[in-house]
């Protein structure tokens, strides 16, 4: 008898030690380039906020998954009325905020009303503009009535700016975010790192990681050193493409190239002569050699685009053939516009590499057709003031990183000054259409109009270079929305 006991004990011990040896790591240090100003995604545009809290700490009624598709989140299901104006959301039960307060329909009403209120400081207030009112049906059901049908409403509710917050913690979310997600905010050493830990009371599938630390490393050389030394085990938006070959050759890492929602464009002030002449804009489009810009400025990372749309989107139409690189044709168009003697313009460049490096190359390309660019480097704050607000510019290079943002071309008074009633009508129609096939068709037409009008010089879709430890799985390669979703990330061994 005692022999059996001993045997059992030894067996149990063996099992325990072997499973301990098998137990995978549950901590992770990720490098991020920018430190968020605060951690409330409903009160700031910085991608750096969403790249920490989206899906991890905060959740919305819906969420956007890795393929860019809308998935249920806090809303377990929904029904849409026949006139497509009333959305009734059925909420998950048993959901608690990290501070222990219960999540229910009141929180949904509070969050949506807060975002669209008069004194709202939501950076994407336009997402909520179609909402007429939000009604509580019962604690688990909420009814949202729209002023008119809005095709993208469920998608909009999946943005980081539309996450559900509690009235008890809304005011302090900037410093101490309280959401419903699978991770809780733990610590923020300002300037250094932000740590989140597993939420043991999570209502959904629990996460594999116990702890994740986002370490802020702005300098590309420092980022390379941090990855090589093993100080960080993941860098989802790696800032040093020049180190790609070195990292790919190292078996410790897995390097992947994903897509983003960043349409990088040579923006043109459409209101300012001679750029109000479509011929001049078309000349610019012909003069640009996109691949040369991608190779020269981005070390080959990036997908050429011919209109304002992400190539990974199902509604994408390839317009890159509309204006092939053709210097002679560009010169002819300049001649037709009466500008054969050439013009002098300014090219204002914000700090990112794609603009500063890309700008030099584009200036050289435009010089060949008689457009002499004076390069003016500007800081971001300066760019927002001079270019975006005061519209005091000729040309600039910028990446529009918001998802599905082709509608910016229909905005009144937007910085590039494009005004085409046909395009506006198309976007209005798109807004009220929810049939997928019809939407796809409208998106295609919109892309074509922008290309025909050569509104701006469409350059490329920003790529994202992911560097992860080869033993980690479950992370996003593409970024259809600004996020570092860690909900499925785990160590293989």
């Amino acid at each position: 008898m005692s022999g059996v006991k001993t045997l059992l004990a030894v067996g149990a011990l063996l099992l325990a030690t072997s499973s301990a040896a098998m137990a995978a790591r549950t901590d992770l240090v990720l490098g991020v380039v920018l430190e968020p100003p605060h951690l409330d995604p409903t009160a700031g545009a910085a991608a750096a906020i969403d790249e920490i809290v989206y899906s991890n700490v905060f959740e919305g009624l819906t969420r956007i998954d890795e393929t860019g598709t809308v998935q249920p989140a806090l809303a377990e299901s929904w029904t849409i009325s026949d006139d497509e104006k009333v959305y009734t959301f059925k909420l998950h039960g048993g959901v608690k905020f990290h501070d222990g307060t219960t999540f229910d329909a009141e929180d949904v009403k509070f969050s949506l009303d807060r975002a669209r209120a008069e004194n709202s400081t939501n950076a994407q207030k336009a997402l909520f503009s179609a909402i007429e009112n939000v009604e509580l049906v019962d604690p688990a059901t909420v009814k949202v009535t729209l002023k008119q049908p809005q095709g993208a409403f469920l998608y909009n509710m999946g943005w980081g700016d539309a996450v559900i917050v509690a009235p008890e913690s809304a005011e302090t979310n900037k410093e101490k975010p309280v959401g419903t997600g699978p991770f809780r905010f733990a610590d923020w050493a300002r300037g250094s790192s932000i740590t989140i830990t597993r939420n043991p009371e999570y209502w959904g599938t629990p996460v594999a990681l116990d702890k994740a630390e986002f370490r802020i490393i702005p300098d590309p050389a420092a980022a390379t050193a941090a990855v090589l030394s093993g100080d960080v085990q993941a860098f989802p938006f790696f800032p040093a493409p020049e180190a790609r070959a070195q990292l790919e050759a190292d078996p410790r890492f897995k390097v992947t190239i994903g897509t983003t929602e960043g349409e990088t464009i040579l923006s043109i002030n459409n209101k300012k002569p001679p750029f109000n002449n479509v011929k001049v804009r078309q000349a610019i489009s012909y003069a640009i050699d996109r691949q040369a810009v991608i190779d020269g400025a981005m070390f080959g990372l990036g997908t050429p685009i011919g209109s304002h749309f992400a190539p990974h989107n199902p509604a994408y139409v390839d317009m890159t053939g509309a204006y092939p690189h053709d210097v002679e044709k560009a010169k002819a168009l300049m001649h037709e516009a009466g500008l054969q003697d050439g013009i002098k313009v300014t090219l204002k460049l914000p700090p990112p590499q794609y603009a500063r490096r890309g700008g030099e190359i584009i200036a050289a390309q435009l010089r060949k057709i008689g457009i002499d660019c004076e390069i003016v480097p500007v800081e971001w704050a300066d760019w927002l003031q001079q270019v975006f607000k005061d519209k005091n510019f000729d040309l600039t290079i910028v990446s529009h990183t918001e998802p599905n943002d082709i509608d910016i071309y229909s905005r009144k008074d937007y910085y590039f000054g494009y005004d085409n009633p046909n395009f506006d009508k198309l976007i209005e129609e798109l807004n009220i259409t929810s049939d997928e096939a019809a939407r796809k068709d409208l998106y295609g037409k919109a892309q074509k109009i922008l290309s025909d009008d050569a509104v701006v010089g469409f350059l490329f879709e920003l790529a994202r270079m992911n560097v992860w430890d080869a033993n980690i799985e479950g992370y996003w390669v593409n970024a259809p929305i600004q996020a570092n979703d860690l909900t499925k990330v785990r160590w293989k061994q």
Partner: protein, 314 residues
């Protein structure tokens, strides 16, 4: 001594006040709207206006200056626009990184430079002097960020002895924190040490050529006694002047090194605050640096008096 001290404190206070006006006025004309910066390109104009109102940016300049100055006098530095936490808390969090870093670098550079300078001066023209001065020439010429990267590649990536950057915080223990500061301190210290060693050497050589040194040698004192007791003390004034300048430089000039090692120090804070137009933080940190420079200069002046009794009367 007392009137001297009072006079210096008085000028210091006036300098601070003038600096505050200059800083405030300069930052006001810098283009860029902190509210738009926060909310980005997609934000509607009324959301930006709502935030401006919340930040108190819609008040006239003079009102903002007076309320900031008033707060400053009672120790309330206001709230950061971007981080929305008290500026004093931000500055305190960062100062516990930058101050020890600057002190460590200062200590290292002094510990290297003074012996090298002494040795070179007393072995003037010999091989050791030539080598030391050649090395210091190199130290002056090498940019510290490049040297920092070299250190990272050797000690963090190849040897894995020290972290490549970052700061675990003092709560993680004194040793891990000091380990994190070690490479940055060396990167900062070596170029400074090179300058200081050259200054020490030439100051000593000047003194060694003076009549009283010859007299001391003539009355039978050994070379070393003369060097340590008579020459060094007299050579310290230029050395202390340089040290004072270097400390201010180390504290304010760590922006590059703090970026290379991604340390959460004052240099990073001010850099980040400028790009985000977090003007209230910029103003406070600049004022803090101005105050530090004034205090360090005062200490250097006092040290002159301690070294040379002839200066005490003034």
């Amino acid at each position: 001594m007392m009137p001297f001290l009072l006079k210096r404190i008085g000028t210091g206070a006036i300098t601070l006040l003038l600096a505050s006006i200059v800083v405030f006025a300069m930052l006001d004309v810098v283009p860029g709207d902190p509210a738009r910066m926060m909310l980005g390109m997609n934000a509607t104009e009324d959301a930006v206006q709502a935030l401006r109102e919340q930040m108190g940016l819609n008040q006239p300049l003079i009102m903002r200056y007076m309320s900031w100055l008033g707060g400053f006098l009672v120790g309330d530095l206001g709230r950061s626009y971007t981080y929305s936490v008290p500026v004093s808390q931000l500055v305190a969090e960062r100062a516990v990184v930058s101050l020890p870093l600057a002190l460590l670098a200062l200590f290292l550079s002094t510990a290297i430079a003074i012996p090298v300078g002494l040795y070179s001066a007393s072995h003037r023209g010999k091989a050791a002097d030539t080598i030391a001065m050649g090395a210091s020439q190199l130290g002056v010429a090498i940019p510290n960020f490049w040297f920092a990267l070299l250190l990272v590649y050797v000690f963090a990536i190849a040897l894995r002895l020290l972290p490549a950057g970052g700061f675990p915080g003092w709560t993680a223990g004194t040793w891990p924190a000091l380990k994190a500061l070690f490479l940055p301190a060396i990167a900062l210290a070596l170029p400074q040490a090179a300058i200081l060693a050259r200054v020490t050497r030439s100051a000593l050589l000047d003194v060694l050529g003076e009549d009283f040194v010859r007299t001391a040698r003539a009355k039978g004192l050994s070379r070393n006694t003369v060097l340590w007791r008579h020459a060094l003390r007299n050579a310290l004034i230029p050395v202390f002047t340089i040290l004072g300048l270097q400390f201010s430089f180390l504290l304010a000039g760590t922006i590059i090194i703090e970026n290379v090692f991604y340390l959460p120090g004052l240099g990073r804070l001010i850099f980040q605050a400028i790009t985000q137009r977090d003007l209230i933080v910029v103003e406070s940190v600049v004022m803090l640096l101005v105050a530090t420079v004034i205090v360090v200069n005062l200490l250097v002046d006092l040290s002159y008096a301690a070294i040379d009794p002839r200066l005490r009367g003034t």
